[in-house]
């Protein structure tokens, strides 16, 4: 076969796979149930290397990721390289908010998020007064070494004075050191992004689309994950209601435009949005409807109005949220539920509104045998796909790290066995 013939076939396969995803989004069942491949540290298990190697060795990460896509033949894949090979970049930045393999945890252990109050409750006012200045001089110096010197800068708006002599602060050794470290770190991030782009281009040339190229946060979780910490934000739901709501609104505003621009530049309309602190166990339905959902829905609507397709990963159990989150325009969103049991429930409530992603519990993948995985796929096909649901098969949050390889094969085989 000539290169041209191969390219023509790959292009046709790419188009067919992407069309299945788009059909699901548009609530038209395609010829078969699409499958999505997403994994992080499971790739290390699959490739026979340590988690640390996967994070630090760009070439190995690229090679293993491509091998996995070619073996499992999904209808779309996440950017497996961009989501894993971040070790060198995070080390170059001197990130303090995470522990990762070989950097705070063992070489065979996954990330550990460190939940802390990076912004104190009494600093809400400063943040609300000027988020950019607060971020650069107070927040970033706490969360990454590369920014520590910026704590020595004057308030940013004062740099605009007539004689501009406030730039003197940039001569301070701490500020110089930060600038140099940042430039070096940015070059490392460029390298990582280059490998991510190579993965995307390579699998595209082989006939496989990326499911998304843009990852976005959401307003409430941005405050909880990065600024106040999850536990402190839960207390703020009672102690600092107004300031929390004002901050969530502020964050939502600056994130929306940036994410829309990023997604449009990527050429892929699907925007992945994770959710963390909304769960039934973390806030009441009333709190969800007051603090979480209105700014999040505003964000979803802005994405939809911009011609983008929000793909929300609803983590944890969402049973009590179903009616609320169903309130989005039909045929515009993908809802990815971590808990498989949520999908049949959601199918009844919003099956005519959103497409679904997910379907196999992490517990089945990790503790079950291939026949258990086969049964799990059969079950979700019967409960959702066979009833007209527009489901894209995946696990709760991609392939769990500890999953035996034969269980992953069983999952993808079962998709074809039971749903086209």
């Amino acid at each position: 076969m000539t290169n041209l013939e191969q390219a023509t076939i790959a292009k046709a396969q790419y188009d067919a796979r992407w069309q299945r995803i788009m059909d699901c989004v548009a609530l038209k069942q395609p010829d078969r149930m699409p499958t999505i491949f997403y994994a992080t540290f499971w790739l290390a298990k699959y490739g026979g290397i340590t988690y640390k190697e996967l994070m630090y060795d760009y070439e190995k990460s690229l090679e293993i990721s491509k091998k996995a896509v070619l073996e499992f033949e999904p209808d779309a894949a996440s950017n497996l390289v961009a989501r894993t090979a971040m070790g060198r970049s995070m080390e170059a930045i001197g990130l303090k908010t995470l522990k990762w393999p070989g950097h705070g945890v063992g070489e065979h252990q996954p990330y550990q998020y460190i939940d802390r109050e990076y912004m104190k409750s009494e600093e809400y006012e400063e943040f609300l007064f000027d988020p950019s200045d607060y971020c650069l001089r107070k927040f970033l110096p706490q969360v990454a070494e590369a920014f520590e010197g910026f704590a020595h800068l004057p308030a940013l708006p004062t740099l605009s004075g007539l004689r501009a002599i406030n730039i003197r602060a940039f001569a301070k050794p701490e500020v110089r050191a930060s600038l140099l470290q940042l430039m070096a770190a940015a070059e490392e991030v460029e390298q990582m992004a280059g490998y991510g782009a190579k993965f995307a281009n390579d699998i595209c040339a082989l006939g496989y689309p990326l499911i998304t190229d843009t990852f976005a946060g959401n307003p409430y979780d941005t405050i909880a994950d990065y600024w106040r910490g999850g536990i402190s934000t839960m207390k703020d739901l009672f102690r600092h209601k107004e300031k929390l709501m004002a901050s969530v609104d502020k964050v939502g505003g600056y994130m929306r435009d940036q994410m829309i621009a990023t997604a449009k530049a990527s050429g892929n309309p699907i925007v992945m949005i994770t959710t963390h602190w909304h769960a039934d166990a973390f806030m009441s339905p009333k709190q969800f409807e007051m603090f979480y959902w209105p700014p999040f829905k505003k964000q979803l609507m802005a994405f939809i109005d911009a011609g983008l397709i929000p793909m929300v990963l609803w983590e944890h159990d969402c049973t009590k949220r179903m009616e609320t989150i169903a309130d989005v325009p039909a045929g515009k969103c993908i809802y990815w539920f971590e808990r498989t049991e949520n999908i049949p429930k959601a199918q009844k409530i919003m099956g005519d509104t959103v497409a679904f992603r997910g379907g196999v519990e992490a517990s089945t993948m990790v503790t079950g045998k291939p026949e258990d995985v086969d049964l799990a796929v059969k079950s979700i096909v019967e409960k959702v796909w066979a009833k007209g649901g527009n489901l894209m098969l995946d696990c709760g949050i991609g392939i769990p790290d500890e999953t035996p390889v034969e269980n992953v094969r069983a999952m993808f085989d079962a998709a074809r066995k039971y749903a086209g």
């Binding site: 252990q109 996954p110 769960a279 039934d280 166990a281 983590e315 944890h316 159990d317 971590e338 519990e361 992490a362 517990s363 089945t364 990790v366 503790t367 079950g368 709760g396 769990p400 790290d401 500890e402």
Partner: protein
């Protein structure tokens, strides 16, 4: 595991709860409960496991007595086991 066993011997609790938020915890929960068996202490208390990734399949895998996915479920399990009326 050694710490678990020492603390259980020191406090003699009615309930031992193991929390795990990552799939990484499945095996360590299983190994911890197996260690209780080996120490001959398994029948002296109830074991619950919990966390966002936990379900009946993990309970079976680890041989825990029950599971919950949030703090309220954990409290309710304790009430049932200790005969506390709501």
């Amino acid at each position: 595991m050694k710490t678990f066993i020492e603390e259980i011997n020191a406090y003699e609790p009615d309930v031992v709860a193991l929390s795990g938020f990552l799939t990484l915890a499945f095996d360590s929960m299983k190994e911890t409960i197996e260690a209780f068996d080996k120490e001959g202490m398994r029948s002296k208390f109830k074991i619950m496991i919990g966390g966002g990734q936990i379900d009946e399949a993990v309970r079976t895998y680890t041989s825990a007595d029950a599971f919950g996915i949030n703090a309220v479920e954990a409290v309710n399990l304790c009430k049932i086991w200790l005969g506390v009326k709501s």
